[in-house]
């Protein structure tokens, strides 16, 4: 498939074949995303696309199926451009958070504090003082406050994990409690309304018919993809997540890199905070509740390995889209709310099983 692989065709096929046999007999619980035969990171744009599709074929099929259900059950509304934009706008906020989460998880960590960091950033960026500054000197003040707060929280997470050697789950759980509490203290648990109109106008606006929020998601996802797949930073993220000791022995500064990953996740939360602020015209300590679960679910369903070392931005984007489309289809169809919950559970399982079977097939010759 890739030029490099032509050299020894027998080997290439051999391992592909092995997978096929191996699947039914194994007890693997993490095999969702393992397609050992799949060529990875091949050269040339075309092969990227092709392998990307191969790996994500199940996700694509799941999404398409969902859309078909949407079209059938909610005909005219579902397929309108307004509705598509609604889905994308909804996806954008969690999407940006999930991109950051993809990096952390690929690097072998986890971040439970994303929702809380988002809330804190939104609150901090909408205090009277900040809004005053923004009104006086420009919107950039609010935006950079949000980004800085996010990044700073991420830094604390990163330092705790990398140098304090606190397990990521616990470190970020502590940050969850801490950041949310701090957000409540700062806002006195009141919803802070944004009065800086340039801010709302810009981020609430559209560009070329597409909402700015959606553009932001697209840009973050694209940058994330390049960063993960085309830079030394990305390579090192895989290395740190896949085998931290090997990475260390290869001279990678594992601790520093880990910190960077959490800062990145925090930064994404800061961006998401700006987006949510624009969408809701408020900052609030209740923003982003349970986003950690949503983001992790999107990342994992997309094919990133929860134990680190393997991650895909494209998969994450699909994961986010699947969940948001699901929500949209549910809203359009007047399902009983409890039934929605049950259906959601079923659909998640079906999507994963689909992805697994189809991806395995697509990558075996």
């Amino acid at each position: 498939m890739m030029s490099e692989e032509v050299a020894r065709p027998e080997t290439a096929t051999a391992s592909g074949d092995k997978v096929q046999d191996a699947v039914p007999t194994t007890a693997s619980t993490q095999s969702t995303t393992r397609q050992p035969g799949a060529p990875r990171n091949g050269g040339g744009a075309l092969s990227i696309l092709r392998t990307g599709m191969g790996r994500n074929v199940g996700l694509v099929v799941a999404l398409v199926l969902l859309c078909i259900v949407g079209v059938i059950t909610a005909g005219d509304t579902f397929a309108t451009s307004a509705n598509v934009l609604t889905i994308l706008r909804l996806a954008a906020v969690v999407g940006v958070v999930s991109i950051g989460m993809t990096f952390v998880i690929t690097g072998g960590g986890i971040d439970l504090s994303v929702g809380a960091m988002l809330a804190l950033a939104s609150v901090w960026a909408t205090t009277l003082a900040t809004q005053q500054m923004a009104a006086d000197y420009g919107v950039i003040f609010m935006v950079s406050t949000a980004l800085l707060v996010g990044a700073a929280c991420g830094l604390v997470n990163g330092l705790l994990v990398a140098y304090g050697k606190v397990v990521p789950f616990i470190a970020t759980l502590a940050m969850l409690a801490g950041a949310r509490g701090l957000a409540e203290i700062i806002s006195d648990r009141k919803t802070q309304i944004i009065t800086v109109n340039p801010f709302l106008d810009f981020f609430g606006g559209s560009f070329l018919g597409v909402p700015v929020l959606v553009w932001m998601f697209v840009i973050v996802a694209a940058l994330g993809w390049v960063l993960l797949n085309r830079t030394t930073f990305g390579r090192r993220t895989f290395a740190v997540g896949g085998n931290a000791e090997a990475a260390r022995l290869a001279g990678i500064k594992v601790q520093r890199h880990t910190v960077a990953l959490y800062v990145l996740a925090g930064l994404c939360c800061g961006i998401a905070a700006v987006m949510l602020m624009a969408r809701t015209t408020t900052g609030s300590s209740t923003h982003g509740q349970l986003y950690e679960l949503d983001a992790i679910a999107a990342v994992v369903i997309g094919g990133t390995l929860l134990s680190g070392g393997r991650g895909t931005i494209v998969g994450t984007v699909f994961g986010v889209l699947i969940f948001t489309t699901l929500n949209n289809v549910f809203t359009l169809n007047n399902l009983s709310i409890s039934a929605q919950s049950v259906a959601k559970g079923l659909i998640i399982v079906i999507a994963v099983l689909l992805q697994q079977r189809l991806a395995a097939r697509a990558t075996t010759p």
Binding site: M2, S3, E4, E5, V6, A7, R8, E10, T11, A12, T13, A14, S15, D17, K18, D21, A22, P24, T25, P36, P39, R40, N41, G42, G43, V226, R230, T231, T232, F233, G234, R235, R236, F238, A239, G242, N243, E245, A246, A247, R248, L249, A250, G251, I252, K253, G309, R310
Partner: protein
Amino acid sequence: MSSQNTGVSGKGDGVADEELLRMTGIVKEFPGVRALDGVDLDVRRGEVHCLLGQNGAGKSTLIRVLTGAHQPDQGSIVVNGNEVALNSPTAAIDLGIAAIYQELDLVPDLTVAENVFLGHEPARFGLTRRHEVNTRARELLKGLGHGEIPVGRTVGLLPAAGQQVVSMARALSRDAQLIVMDEPSAVLDSEEVGNLFRVIRDLTARGVAVIYISHRLEEIREIGDRVTVLKDGATVATGLDARQTPTSELIRLMTGRSIEYVFPPRATLPGDAQTVLEVTGLSRPREFEDIGFEVRAGEIVGFAGLVGSGRSEVLETVYGARKAATGEVRVDGVTLRPGRVQAAVKAGVGLAPEERKSQALLLDEAVYKNITVSTMQRFASGGFLNGHAEKKAAEELTKALDVRPPGVEHPVRNLSGGNQQKVVLARWLLRDCRVLLLDEPTRGVDVGARSEIYALIRKLAANGVAIVLVSSEVEEVLGLADRVVVMREGRAVHTGPAHEIDEHRVLDLVMEGSAV
């Protein structure tokens, strides 16, 4: 193998006896273990300096101190005449010290090329230059005689030998003046070892120094210049001439006793011994084809072949860890359900797999738990385990195999590579198997323990166990087995009694048509 490598010529000549590295009085303590207790080592430019020692003597630990992976508690390290502090791997790398670690340290999900350049990726503005990475990696691999390894392949998919080659390429990718190789030949077969030696000679000719660790003394003779022997974490001899020092002297230095490094005599198989394991027409597409053999009670059947010839796959298929496409496996006349480990286990088949870390060991568990994991039922009544009985049984075996440090409650992770291998072996010795499949049972095991293991295998056979043995050391296969199967590219090219075939014939069979 020595027949292929004609010369010692390139080595040593012209290169000054300039001192490159001097380590003095290195002490390294782990909780409860003094792994290094005053080690001295000096290495000159352009030499191959061999490090010898029993399993657990401290070789790998010394290497990890040298590469900045461990911090020594005491001692000084002088490189090029300057005292240095190697407080991180980066510091060592910057000084031109590269290493191939005993435990493969690769990132499974990155490609071959990415692994080779991990940590020093050619990049512009942070963007990796993938083309350059791939081309340069391909060149390096070609230089190692392995141009066929696809540089875009995920490293986790390569067999152990392939991974070892990638590790070597990585060490070479750095402009090193000292390359440390910790048992690089353990997973290699004779052809590969020849290749490796060619590379080492190239390096030394360019003035690069190599520290070479191996338990195969004949390799030391062939490639080494000087030898340092470690025992119990201390240097017992240094600067010995690699070619002149008698083997018995080396062994005595290492073990403190003299050991006959020979195979125990073969017992004659009773003519009426019943066939225990019968394999017919076993195939898995692109791995191996139409393999058939039988093993009688008390018989040892050895598999010889190159790395990648499919021997491990055959064993794993017999065991049910892989599902056979066609063919049958019968134990005592009963056909096993393909692809079911349980079926094999129930029928009394045991497998000591090739990859100890990933396939066999529970690294964080105590030694005794690792040993009894397949025989738990024996120590349990009503599901409750009798820890004392377990430990006693495990202690007997570890004593017999000379596992160091003694004691069965250390986590296996803290044992040296060779000692871990002994633990794996002990697991299957404890189990009363009808059939025992041993894949590279002596990989990384030192001279002393090796003869213990040979004796044990023999004893098992004498007790009526049917044994299948895979080894990359031809003499081991010939010395132990009653019958030999030679495999090449997934086919059995020869089957016959061991005494009818010699090492040269095996090598010829193995190489035929596969010469590069």
